[in-house]
Symmetry: C2
Subunit: 377 residues, 2 copies
């Protein structure tokens, strides 16, 4: 029985693993980037996750290593594995969350539905793609970004010249990813969990409502989704999890197109914002499920306990104040809404917490959650 889990990264995802860890008797240790982060209560070390010695020193004292984020470099991941340390998800799976071109190639091999895409290394290749796709496309850097952003809509062959120039300078470089602009009606997310010995379970498909490129609301299950769509998304999630060999939680971000198809947008290999509703709305929260999966324990039931659930992010928060200063008003107005905080200072656009609500009436819980959320503006 292995019960010491080390989490690399001290953000809110690590923080939200603490509650189920305590209940299950899992000893959770966090390697935080700095003092005072969201997961500070469980932070047993502070250091740079890019430094092999720092990470190895942390990892040697736990039974399983997992992650708050996907940014641990491949060479650090492989150094742990070389020492016999159990790492979930492993380097071979995480590669597909770290490099968008690797992801697109692998999804193509798996036959997963996705936007038209190409790897492009110069403006001529980009022009060819644009010509074939109505003159507009999305260009993405495969890893990270060169100007703090890694996604750009272009409508000219020269629209990514600065990134092509940077590529040439970059030892990791190679190509940019270009994707068709998808005519989607909404975004969806399919979460699954997979344990090393192979068991996979799926959560119900959810709708993720975006506001300015940031997830603002999640509706579970996805409203109006047909049984066929739910089954298709679940099968896709399971096939991807197995195809890339992920362990732990996997979120498959999807576009639903005007003509009724689903296309894979992104992959996340960790608990994900689209699954925070499970804390108060599913038999097993994604954070408990992630712990169970990385410990290779049998996975928990994923059914929504009250029929429907919603999650609304608290973005920004009350500037210059604390979230707690709004508890009195929000709790008095909506006693059925659950408030989750990340221990972060409010800052414009920052995810500082979320609210959940669950119940039989999807409209009523959404309305209640919005009232509660709005007290934190």
């Amino acid at each position: 029985m292995f019960m010491r889990v080390g989490v690399i990264g001290g953000g809110q995802l690590a923080r939200m693993m603490i509650a189920p860890a305590v209940e299950l008797g899992v000893e959770i240790r966090v390697l935080a980037e700095q003092e005072g982060m969201s997961a500070a209560l469980a932070a047993t070390a502070v250091g740079d996750y890019r430094d092999i010695d720092t990470v190895l020193a942390f990892a040697r004292d736990v039974d399983v290593v997992t992650f708050d984020h996907e940014h641990v470099p491949q060479e650090v991941l492989r150094a742990m594995t070389a020492e016999g340390i159990s790492v979930h998800p492993g380097a071979d799976a995480l590669r597909f969350a770290q490099d968008k071109l690797d992801m697109r190639r692998r999804l193509t091999e798996l036959g997963a539905p996705q936007p038209d895409w190409a790897a492009v290394t110069n403006s001529t290749e980009l022009a060819t793609f644009l010509d074939a796709h109505g003159g507009r496309a999305v260009v993405k850097t495969a890893r990270g970004g060169y100007d703090g952003k890694g996604v750009r809509v272009v409508d000219s062959a020269n629209g990514a010249d600065d990134w092509f120039a940077a590529l040439a300078e970059d030892a990791n470089g190679g190509a940019l990813l270009v994707e068709e602009l998808v005519d989607f009606t909404r975004e969806l997310a399919q979460q699954v969990a997979r344990r090393p010995s192979g068991q996979v379970v799926a959560y119900p498909l959810v709708e993720t409502v975006q506001d300015g490129g940031v997830c603002s609301e999640v509706l579970a299950p996805a409203p109006g989704a047909s049984a066929a769509l739910l089954a298709e998304a679940e099968a896709l999630g399971v096939a991807i999890a197995e195809g890339i060999g992920v362990t732990g939680m996997l979120a498959v971000e999807l576009f639903e197109t005007r003509d009724g198809r689903i296309l894979v947008n992104e992959l996340a290999m960790r608990p994900h914002n689209s699954g925070h509703w499970t804390q108060d709305g599913a038999a097993t929260s994604q954070f408990e499920q992630h712990l169970r999966a990385v410990l290779d324990l049998p996975l928990g039931a994923t059914n929504p306990t009250a029929g429907n659930a919603v999650m609304l992010n608290i973005l920004g928060g009350p500037l210059g104040q604390t979230l707690e200063s709004r508890f009195d008003a929000a709790m008095a107005a909506e006693p059925g809404v659950k408030i989750h905080t990340y221990g972060k200072e409010p800052r414009p656009g920052r995810k500082v917490g979320h609210v959940n609500a669950a119940g039989a009436d999807a409209g009523a819980i959404l309305a209640a959650a919005r009232v509660a959320r709005d007290f934190f503006a």
Copy 2:
């Protein structure tokens, strides 16, 4: 806004406050009796809760003091209050959980239904009570016990002579409590939460199944309870909470008699075993509710989220092994059952954890929970 809660006592009730504290952003600090207790993750101090200096030093660094148990002496409670420290529940309320004669007297004043009782100081008074109640009765020490036990069924006037003798030696002494033997069909529990500013909310009445004097199973809501019974129990719980001025969670343990009455057996002024089902079965767990109440925050909704819920204690556990050694089998057999551990070593009769299940079908969740629980024998 006061958000640092100090909990005196490091047992499982303190441990189970950690999860909601993390989510709400409440800083929880525990004064544990020793190292390595259930609530060790949040233990910031170790010391004797009967020592005024130890407790004051701990309490000065938090905003609100509350409890894992009811054993903190009145003089220690009053020393905190005298320093202006916010203590919930307060000394005046806790008195009724610490002294069973005080409890009976106050319940009589409040008109609460309870077994016939009397304060007796000698065998002659006990004989009078026995004569009036069919020759048998329950004798209880008002505070703690003289021989490790504080409850005894007697059928002779001399059946408590050793306790009367001890009373005479005891500075705290005074009288024993004698109660009629109630002809009850089952035991029930009514939980309410009350905040200092007065708001009170009630959970649904539950049935508590006892096995050899220890709670083994809790069924929520109490099976077969009429609307009238549910309302009567709720009104009684609210009246007692207000009548004794309790803050935080209150559990009213009840007998249901053969002739359909409910009688108060005991009071507990803290989260209680009869409410562990709320962790996975109610909109607000009793542990979150207790934190909200002692912080004087608006109280949360108490409705069962999935219709019904059950809680089964893990008593004893697998001797010589860990609870975790049984996770694989229990989780594989019952993926919908939630396992909670207390970080304690198995020992005969010891409460080392519990399992919860929630769902629409009361029979099915009880059966599933029993299967899971039995793996921990």
